[in-house]
Symmetry: C2
């Protein structure tokens, strides 16, 4: 790919080139670092900025790497030599919040928590809640089809996206979708761009669904002897027709580590589950959850006042920070059919032993999305062992009828596993669609496919 010696994009003032391009643009929260340094970063403030940057890049033979807050966990936004980054964080207006329609129209760079806060002023909320909501952008959430804790009841990001504005490879602006709850006019381009990880165009805006804030939320936490019992208890809850808003599980090792991190000396051993029920049936559902848990353990707590809720959620919240304090974590992201959660947990323990790397497991028991966290030891062969363990975890997910990524995406890190999951026919269809929209492979080359 040829690199222009001087970069200047007509009409764009906020442009950084050469050595002034910050190191952070080469990476994201995955820890992956792209080879080389991007040629330039356009900090877009308008849709026209994005269009001009895309046209410039296409003409100059540069790859376009769209970027929100850089909180991705698969290397999707990491930009290297020969690329032009479009930083969308300055495109951050909330254009409309419509209580009657229960929707918002936003630019891509809006921080997800800011959208939620703006919606809260009229009694609504943006339901998807990725762990990064306080620092990630709605555009990034859409590009990766981000998940979160509340998915089990309220769906993933894509379930809240009604329409998109996207800058295409020739610089034209495409609008997809609609403002109405239902609509079936033509192919579903909105879903196609959602989760496409920057490979089909630059998402510059979105119309998203909002939901009423539930009047009542009840939290239930419980300790179980082991992760198998915890998994069985969560399955039983769902079989009782309860749909908790969240239902999180930590294995024994994560629970112990999170408690230590919180200074909870002498706290109970075993695996930890925390669930929340919400809405008009919250109390009834919470009672069923608690009763169900009590058939497996005597250690069940229920609360709805803010102080108790914080206490019950603390262990779950501490899980990742506790592991980050321990060393360099590789955050994996498999999903398995719910009845296989216990099998997955057991197998992950075996994988940890066989490669001599510590692996902690927590995740979303309500939908089978598990995050095995490999904490990479500090020795010469540790990286290689961690990589082998990760490969075993991907293979395990597929063996159990699951997926290699429940909510983080393929990015760079899982590329070579994609065909193993989707099959060659699917990959060839995906490539054909991409080539139809972006024949030059301008957008995020080397990612996903």
């Amino acid at each position: 790919m040829s690199t222009p010696t001087h970069i200047s994009v007509d009409g764009i003032a906020d442009l950084v080139t050469g050595d002034a391009v910050e190191e952070r643009y080469r990476t994201d929260r995955s820890g992956y670092i792209a080879p080389g340094r991007p040629e330039a970063v356009v900090r877009a403030h308008t849709v026209e900025d994005v269009q001009a940057a895309v046209r410039y890049a296409a003409g100059a033979g540069l790859a376009v790497v769209p970027r929100g807050a850089g909180t991705g966990l698969a290397g999707g936004a990491a930009a290297g030599a020969g690329s032009l980054v479009i930083d969308l964080t300055g495109l951050n207006r909330i254009a409309d919040i419509s209580p009657g329609e229960d929707l918002a129209v936003v630019e891509a760079g809006v921080i997800t928590a800011d959208l939620d806060a703006a919606a809260a002023e009229v009694g609504l909320r943006y339901a998807p809640d990725p762990a990064s909501a306080a620092i990630s952008t709605i555009g990034g959430n859409i590009a990766t089809n981000a998940g979160g804790l509340r998915c089990v009841k309220y769906g993933v990001t894509g379930d809240s996206v009604l329409g998109l504005s996207v800058v295409l490879a020739d610089g034209t602006l495409l609008h997809t979708g609609r403002r109405t709850a239902k609509g079936v006019a033509g192919l579903d381009l909105t879903s196609l761009f959602t989760g496409s990880e920057g490979t089909l165009g630059v998402i510059v805006g979105a119309t998203v669904r909002l939901q009423p804030i539930p009047l009542r939320t009840v939290t239930i936490a419980a300790r179980f002897d082991d992760v198998e019992t915890a998994a069985a208890a969560t399955s039983r809850v769902l079989a009782e027709r309860v749909r908790p808003a969240i239902m999180e599980l930590l294995d024994e090792a994560s629970t112990r580590r999170a408690q230590d991190h919180l200074g909870l000396d002498g706290a109970a051993s075993g695996a930890f589950v925390v669930a929340q029920t919400d809405g008009f049936g919250a109390d009834t559902e919470a009672q069923i959850v608690a009763d169900t848990f009590r058939t497996f353990t005597s250690r069940v707590d229920v609360g709805s006042d803010p102080e108790t809720v914080e206490r019950l959620l603390a262990v779950r919240r501490a899980a990742l920070p506790a592991l980050e304090a321990l060393g360099r974590p590789l955050i994996e992201d498999i999903a398995v059919p719910r009845p296989r959660i216990a099998d997955a947990a057991r197998a992950v323990t075996t994988i940890a032993d066989s490669h001599r790397v510590p692996i902690f497991l927590f995740g979303h028991a309500g939908d089978g999305n598990l995050h095995p966290i490999i904490v990479v030891p500090d020795d010469p062969t540790a990286d290689a062992r961690a990589e082998q363990a990760a490969a075993d975890i991907f293979a395990l997910a597929l063996d159990l009828g699951g997926t290699i990524t429940g909510e983080h995406g393929i990015g760079v890190l899982k590329r070579r596993w994609l065909a193993k999951e989707t099959g060659e026919e699917s990959l060839s269809v995906q490539r054909a669609i991409r080539a139809a929209l972006d024949p030059q492979l301008l957008f995020n080359p080397g990612k996903v496919f």
Copy 2:
């Protein structure tokens, strides 16, 4: 398009050609009749039958028209000269119902109500409930992304589709999606094929999400002075954070006509609304619905025993049969932003007057999806007037920020309106995707695009 004089597909026994091709294959429930007669109908019993038929058609220069039960309302399955119909109703096995995973694996020709009945045996249900569920196929529902009454709480067909099996233009079998609740590996091909109305491939099977049958359902019906008041009352219910499972509205004329049809002489005048709440909060929510309605009208009924529920739902159920008894109905299918329902209802009355055709309005107040029904009079200029009224209704939907089709699809009948809604950029992207998957335009040519 050249027509072979003799048609025989290797390995396919159940093949009908020439004059033996039944008239019904030229049409669907929309009343549209395709010009000419299909050259052949392959009644598929296996996926291999579909693959052989597609390969044969591609070689013989015949168009492929996939067909389920033929209950579509936009002419999408109507097949004419130069085409080979693949009738999928014989591909009707339910391969798997998994209570732990809350999913089913089915062939495309399974009748939607049969799937729901099979799920009910293990306490689950298939939530999407198109009015045609008793006679339509799951494959047809997916091809049109069918809606239904319960969409307001449980989503449209697409929200319940986890994965698909699709025969592509070269005869290969593609599997999309997954069995897990979450998953973001690669482009979302499942959503792309859902609602594509047979233009990208032949859907031969699906993995669909099931949900627990709610233990409790409460029904609330009310009469309002006029449709504006009824619309305002339904909006107020949603603003009270209630999410009814269904919330249906009939304007004054439809209500009167439905009552007459049921022989309810002397029944109350005005517009009719019926709602159902379900789940663990059903009683609380029903109370709020009833209280809210009572701030607008004194005529509110609540019930949960089967007999009362049937009585409360009867007027809604009678709406379409009552109009069919009156003459030939054109069933329109717009969706508007919810706060504009009353505006839409008023405007439809004006359209009816100006073109001197009776138009009755009912629909899904919970999501703004309205069905204006034009009952075509029996006079020489009636068809032309009805067509002009339909055009005005589409224009109205777009003026109000809505869509020309909430749940029935584009098919043949709304083709020339598609670009007006989606814009030329979108149409060109849709065409590019279609050309990438089906360069010969083998599948359902002349539909949608």
